[in-house]
């Protein structure tokens, strides 16, 4: 005979104000199997848990119902209380009378109370059919794969490797460093970006626990948390990195010039190149799309001048495999193309540039020697208009969201402009100034007071040319008038967008992504670092626009998650997963089609005992199954059951109401 204990929580006033808790307790006591029922202000607190522990022992309870908040919140807490009292933790049921009753029925206490009592009755009925379950152990491969070598990937890799866990870091371009390597100084302290980034890049290259594979991309990921197998394509670099010394003779002599991505196309690089002088690894690669030798079979100058004979035009892409236990996605961001702003003359006026182009110009290692210059005539601009929210917060032309960093970097640009060109003036058109962050508001103030930047609240409606000047016409909403500013140069703060390849990568890895193409986190507040797929984590702008401090923090959080995952030799996993009863399985494989986690495979078993003839059945991979129950629903022979949600449990619940 079952002996159920019921514990009803007030949740302070959250439940008690809208649900008559004592009455719920009284109702519970009327159920035959309930041997003990009690209420308490905070059941999750230590005295509350103690009540549960004591009652289990004193009343020899066989299952426990806690009527409180969502099981997402405290199921683990209460399970632990059961364990502490020597009871199997899976004999717990949580009746969610907060989110499902008190919060949503605040206008009708009587009905809310009735619903709460129903929920308790269901939970009691279900708990009677609960079985003892035990956590599953899964072996773990202690190696992490980090995809993307920007500051997010670098930080995650270093933190994981510092915990003496091997890391494979792959980067699609020839060097790590990412967007941060393109920046000049960083807000809000104006640290030189290169000075704080390049030492970390060197650390990555020299770390004994990091395997750096540049110029590569992941093409396949199989397996499950703790036991992934990644296939990686190493793109042909046409340079043997083992013999190359990075002397530079090849790229000095290469006759082919290509717009330089690192400098946003402001200058040219060669077809054999390193992206920038501080690149890691500092070895060149040949850009196969532009190399004359690879395209037409003529030239070969780089091979002639290479003293080490490191050039190999016959090199092929190479596929390598790595077994890893966890994956960190850190693919960064792209910038929105401002072409749809036709009224600004984007594309027609050379002196309208984007913020990252401006950033490259003012960079000490930039193509213009650290000075902003007009692309049209090379003159140094004195009057510069910065326009924020280009594409961001613009549903008509761009995207709805705020790109988060533009307010701050535009303030930085105003300061840098003032540093580089003392007699210049910055005009900033803005919608709002979003400067939430440590030292951020002060930094914007500095731009306004120290450099005298003119902040104009309003949108720009038109840009047109008058002589050599660009006339920027916009609204100054604070004086309610249309204003026109004569500018030598206009800088557009273009929106952050996810990298174009994100959706494809997400599908390949089996994680979800949002309507824009950002990777989706498991929970926006409580699990911001994990994806819904166990063992795959997110760092940096691949998830949403972020500045450097937030990116680094998230990357370190990823590292903590990976280290936590790898803390033991095996991983503990919730036992609430599906199980196939081979006797009933007809091998129809419908479950395989609906499983969102690719957790089900086919297996061959003998038709009968000792028989040599085989038949196909479904087999569930315990490591991968997340217990969603989709397979249970489609199984027409009722061969699959989900532990913790078996048919008797569910039927009991239904009968109870």
């Amino acid at each position: 005979m079952a002996r159920v204990g019921v514990f009803v929580c007030f949740c302070g006033a959250n439940i008690a104000d809208f649900v008559d808790v004592p009455q719920v307790v009284e109702e519970a006591k009327r159920i035959r199997e309930v041997k003990y029922a009690i209420q308490y202000k905070y059941m999750c607190s230590d005295p509350g848990q103690q009540m549960i522990r004591d009652a289990i022992v004193q009343y020899k309870l066989t299952s426990i119902v806690v009527a409180a908040c969502s099981p997402r919140m405290h199921e683990k807490t209460f399970r632990k209380a059961l364990s502490d009292a020597g009871m199997n933790p899976y004999l717990l049921e949580v009746a969610n009378i907060r989110e499902h009753s008190s919060w949503v029925h605040q206008k009708d206490k009587k009905a809310a109370t009735e619903k709460a009592s129903d929920l308790v009755r269901m939970a009691v009925a279900k708990s009677i059919a609960n079985e003892q379950l035990h956590e599953i152990s899964v072996p773990v491969t202690k190696r992490a794969l980090v995809i993307g070598g920007g500051i997010a990937g670098i930080q995650a890799a270093l933190d994981i490797a510092d915990a003496r866990i091997p890391v494979t870091l792959i980067e699609k371009s020839p060097s790590i460093g990412g967007r941060m390597a393109q920046l000049d100084e960083t807000f809000p302290t104006l640290d030189c970006s290169q000075c704080i980034l390049t030492p970390k890049m060197v650390d990555v290259a020299s770390h004994p626990f990091i395997e750096l594979i540049p110029y590569s991309e992941v093409i396949e990921l199989d397996g499950y948390v703790g036991n992934y197998k990644a296939r990686i394509r190493k793109k042909a670099s046409y340079v043997n990195f083992k013999t190359c010394t990075g002397c530079g003779a090849c790229w000095q002599k290469c006759p082919v010039k290509v717009p330089n991505e690192y400098n946003m196309g402001i200058d040219k690089r060669k077809a054999i190149y390193t992206p920038f002088p501080q690149a890691v690894p500092n070895k060149p690669v040949i850009d196969a799309e532009h190399c004359t030798m690879l395209l037409k079979g003529k030239c070969g100058i780089c091979a002639k001048v290479c003293e080490k004979g490191a050039i190999d035009y016959k090199m092929q892409d190479e596929i390598i495999e790595r077994e890893v236990g966890a994956v960190v996605i850190a693919t960064g961001y792209d910038l929105w193309d401002p072409k749809p702003y036709e009224e600004y003359g984007v594309g027609r006026f050379k002196d309208i540039i984007t913020s990252l182009e401006f950033e490259r110009m003012v960079s000490a290692n930039g193509p213009t020697g650290g000075l902003p210059v007009r692309p049209s005539d090379g003159k140094v601009p004195k009057s510069v208009v910065f326009i924020k929210c280009i594409g961001s917060r613009d549903e008509a032309k761009g995207i709805e969201y705020c790109s988060k960093i533009c307010c701050m970097y535009t303030a930085k640009h105003a300061i840098l402009l003032h540093h580089k060109v003392h007699d210049s003036h910055a005009y900033i058109f803005y919608m709002d100034i979003r400067a939430a962050g440590k030292g951020y508001e002060e930094f914007v103030k500095k731009a306004q007071t120290d450099t005298g930047a003119t902040y104009l609240r309003g949108r720009v409606s038109k840009i047109f040319k008058k002589g050599e000047k660009l006339i920027v016409r916009g609204e100054d909403a604070q004086i309610g008038q249309v204003v026109e500013v004569e500018a030598d140069m206009v800088v557009l703060a273009t929106a952050i967008i996810p990298p174009k390849g994100n959706p494809d990568l997400a599908r390949l890895l089996g994680v979800s992504y949002d309507k824009y193409g950002y990777m989706s986190e498991a929970h926006p507040k409580l699990r911001p670092v994990e994806t819904a797929k166990a063992g795959i984590f997110l760092a940096g702008c691949t998830q949403a626009p972020k500045d450097i401090p937030d990116t680094v923090a998230q990357a370190s959080a990823c590292a903590a998650k990976v280290c936590g995952l790898f803390a033991g030799d095996t991983m503990k996993k919730d036992p609430m997963i599906s199980k196939v009863n081979n006797e009933f399985c007809s091998g129809c494989q419908n479950c395989i089609k609906v499983c969102p986690y690719q957790a089900i495979v086919t297996d061959e078993i003998p038709i009968g005992h000792g028989s040599k003839e085989m038949r196909t059945v479904a087999r569930i991979n315990e490591g991968v199954c997340q217990g969603c129950g989709s397979c249970v629903a489609v199984c027409r022979s009722m061969a699959i059951s989900l532990a913790g949600f078996t048919d008797p449990q569910i039927i009991n619940e239904i009968v109870a109401i």
């Binding site: 006759p255 082919v256 036709e342 009224e343 003359g345 027609r348 040319k465 002589g467």
Partner: protein, 314 residues
């Protein structure tokens, strides 16, 4: 031989006679047979749509239904305002069945709208259905030497969702047509700014200011004349030019042509038939530029190094 339904609108029979006449001239030169819509009525213009939505749609709808009784599948309209009204109603009729039913019930004696006829501005027809290549092939007297600011005004390409033609902010169709005629279209940033439209009568100062800015920028762009595809734009920029000059104290001397006048000219048609006498700003000064060739800027001698650098890029 292409066939076309022609909706002239009231201005074609009045202020913009020269537009009407030259449209007919160039269409016949381009082998397009134009059939004027029989028994057409007023499009409603500005007045109807400020008073009543039903009326603003019912007036154009009657014309749309009449057009379906002819065999042609395109109706072209010289006046930008008529075009806009008819196109707006067409989009409503095609996209909003509920509203379509309501409007149609008001003019049901004319028939039921089926949506068979496309509505285009004359500019759009020339650009999309005739094409710059065909126009170029008819040119016998190239307009080389003319620098023209093409002015589209606010209705021909906007709103984009309604017109579905060219760019709403920086259209280029007329520019390409005048270039096909041999002229040079200047880089003109005010091509879609408002001219003041019908405020010309009720609040002339507004037109003086707005059209004044357009003239100013056209001059700034180096143009010798302005080209338009809208009767009201033409009248504001041309007729109000002396007032604007008085107001600003500047001399613009920018005649305002309909693009079809220039097409007729380039097709070698007799100048007398283009009704240049109707223009307020005399056209002769601007037309005198035809045939004049800009002095070719002396080619900067390239150093050997520069040539090498360029070839490397290739």
């Amino acid at each position: 031989m292409k066939k076309l339904t022609y909706f002239p609108g009231c201005s074609a029979h009045g202020t913009s006679e020269e537009f009407d006449k030259t449209v007919k001239m160039v269409m016949s030169a381009l082998d397009v047979e134009m059939e004027e819509l029989p028994d057409w009525n007023c499009c409603g213009a500005t007045s109807a749509h400020t008073m009543s939505e039903t009326l603003a749609n019912a007036l154009p709808l009657r014309n749309l239904i009449l057009a379906e009784k002819l065999d042609n599948n395109i109706m072209a309209i010289p006046c930008a305002s008529c075009y806009q009204r008819l196109k707006v109603t067409k989009v409503h009729m095609d996209d909003n069945p509920e509203l379509a039913h309501k409007i149609n019930s008001t003019v049901v004696e004319e028939g039921i709208y089926e949506g068979k006829v496309a509505v285009k501005s004359m500019l759009q027809y020339c650009y999309e259905d005739i094409g710059t290549e065909a126009i170029k092939s008819k040119v016998t007297k190239s307009l080389t030497g003319m620098k023209l600011a093409c002015y589209y005004g606010c209705l021909l390409t906007r709103p984009k969702a309604i017109t579905q033609f060219d760019s709403p902010e920086y259209p280029v169709s007329m520019d390409q047509i005048v270039e096909a005629l041999g002229a040079k279209a200047t880089e003109f940033d005010y091509k879609t700014e408002c001219c003041g439209a019908s405020f010309s009568i009720s609040n002339t100062e507004v037109v003086i200011r707005l059209s004044g800015q357009i003239l100013e920028m056209a001059k700034e762009s180096g143009a010798q004349a302005i080209v338009v595809a809208c009767p009201l734009c033409q009248s504001n920029l041309d007729m109000r030019q002396p007032d604007i000059e008085k107001h600003t104290g500047k001399k613009y001397d920018l005649p305002v042509f309909y693009f079809t006048q220039l097409m007729a000219l380039a097709f070698g048609m007799p100048k007398e038939e283009m009704m240049f006498g109707k223009h307020i700003v005399p056209v002769d000064g601007a037309l005198a530029n035809i045939g004049k060739i800009d002095p070719v800027p002396e080619k900067i001698k390239k150093t050997k190094k520069a040539v090498e650098a360029e070839s490397e890029v290739e």
